[in-house]
């Protein structure tokens, strides 16, 4: 079930390095929000604070609050493992489990949760692969290893794996940057369908992609190398691309820097 994300005063560190500083924003349920900004401004870092993956990095530390509906992900009694089960993630490079079959890849999350019945599993796998527009391509070879698929297929397999557990939120970090234009289109279409069910946040370096898939766009920037990244503005995608309220945003979008 899609949930609203409410971030306030979020700062993230790598050791002593402050990577992003004091970020606050709201992401509406059943919408697509795109993060854009120059390389190194902390888009990935911020994304990874939303499912508590940031703290997996040695030295990774977070201050501030992330509310999912009304629950603080960084509350004292919150188990990060439980957070990651409700906030799914798709990575830049497709990373299916190479030692597992296609079927087992999609079923992996469910098996972790332990809440499934054998006959149910096959249904969920089929539904998720259909949801990721991959079913027709792989239905005859579900027992083959996932690493035998093409890059675009692998990425859709990863999406299927992420949505199989019915997360509340789906985070995607440049999911198309390793893919050809056709696979990219396939995934963009898929994002359009998935937003009916999930809250989606996507990082992208592709302005057209941000314009095509997202409802709202957030622009991040950093004042200089080594300085923390900041949220410059977040608004309806149309406004960001037509007449943003900050000059830096316009410069970035029109390709004048970054």
């Amino acid at each position: 079930m899609a949930k609203r994300i409410d971030v306030s005063g979020l700062t993230a560190f790598y050791g002593t390095h402050r990577a992003i500083d004091d970020i606050s924003m709201t992401v509406e349920p059943r919408s697509v929000t795109a993060f854009i900004g120059p390389s190194g401004c902390g888009k990935s870092t911020f994304l990874r604070t939303l499912n508590r993956m940031h703290e997996v990095t040695p030295g990774g530390r977070v201050e501030g609050k992330v509310l999912l509906d009304d629950e603080n992900l960084y509350g004292a009694n919150v188990d990060p493992v439980a957070v990651r089960r409700t906030v799914g993630m798709v990575f830049q490079r497709p990373n299916p489990f190479p030692t597992m079959s296609i079927f087992d890849n999609v079923a992996a999350g469910l098996k972790l949760n332990g809440k499934y019945r054998k006959n149910e599993l096959a249904n969920v796998v089929e539904k998720s692969l259909k949801g990721a527009n991959l079913w027709n391509e792989v239905k005859d070879r579900l027992n083959k290893p996932g690493s035998g698929l093409s890059g675009g297929q692998q990425q859709r397999l990863c999406i299927a794996r992420a949505i199989a557990v019915e997360p509340d939120v789906l985070l995607m970090d440049e999911p198309c940057s390793a893919l050809d234009p056709i696979s990219t289109l396939a995934i963009e279409d898929l994002i359009g369908e998935l937003k009916e069910r999930f809250t989606i946040v996507i990082v992208t370096h592709n302005m057209q992609q941000a314009a095509r898939v997202s409802d709202r766009t957030a622009f991040f920037n950093l004042s200089a190398v080594g300085q923390p990244g900041k949220l410059i503005e977040i608004d309806e995608t149309e406004r960001i691309f037509a007449n943003p309220s900050v000059q830096a945003t316009e410069d970035y979008i029109s390709g004048r820097f970054g």
Binding site: N51, M53, V56, V81, A82, V83, R84, R85, T86, G88, M89, F91, R93, N95, P96, F97, P98, T99, M100, A108, G109, L112, N113, P145, S147, G148, C158, R161, A162, V165
Partner: protein
Amino acid sequence: MDTTTAPPTDAPPPPPVFDKGAPKAKKQLGDRIFLGLSRGSGITLLVIMAAIAAFLTYRAMLAISKDETNFLTTFEWNPQGEPVSFGIAVLAFGTVVSSIIAMVIAVPIAIGIALFISHFAPRRLAAPIAYLVDLLAAVPSIIYGLWGAVFLVPYLDGLNKWLDEYFAWTYIFDKTNEGVARNLFTVGILLAIMILPIITNVIREVFLQSPKMIEEAALALGATRWEVIRMAVIPFGRSGIISASMLGLGRALGETMAVAVVLSPSFLLSFHILDAGGGTFAQNIAAKFNEANGFGRDALIASGLVLFIITLLVNGAARAIIARRKEYSGANA
């Protein structure tokens, strides 16, 4: 002359584009020397191997053809007796059983230590532990043997009694003869300690190489640390674990001194692993070689050949297992 080469022309050849003069030529010479060396040593190695194999087989056949009892099933070693009678049954059994005991103990512990070093221990703890494991590998095997005989045997006597008392129903822990713990079980434990470092080090390297991307995939799905290990680290390292185990097994099968010092050798074949006595190929050869005459040595060589064949079979099996899993190995990820 090949007809497909370009027709000769009178025009001067174009200046060489990549030729940077002397350093380049030197490098090519270096390449040639290196190629010659590596090819030469490869061939030499093959020739030496073939010579050894031929020699061993020849001497072994000489001995086996004069054996008046079955070489494979006889429970005694009496090549200089009347009649000539020697067989490898007890040796093969002792070798295999002690090695299996060693593997059963060492492999899980090695996986545990490797996991701890690679994925759980804080960095300032991981390095010293890895160093300690390396140190274990540097101890000479005769020292292990002495330690085993002087410390382990009396210490394990109590454990043997306890196992015999409460676990005799498992059959293998039923002790049916008197005598101290100079048995296959003790040998197995000692071998386990001896092969632990090599197995641990190989597995640790494999685990350290497990791809971060895949581990993050598991984490992001909501896997606990242990589940990450189970989903991403161990499957990825499976063929490495098998290779490491085979390396250790090879050492255990061939270990001589430590076994010779600890075991009280006898030609007893008992599935009760706490029974004192038994023998292994290497131990038997080490114990008998000096007193043996020419024929006796041939007989020992024959037993050595069997050990060699067993080692080859074990390696072949390991390779087969690894090859069968290749598709899923993650090598193409």
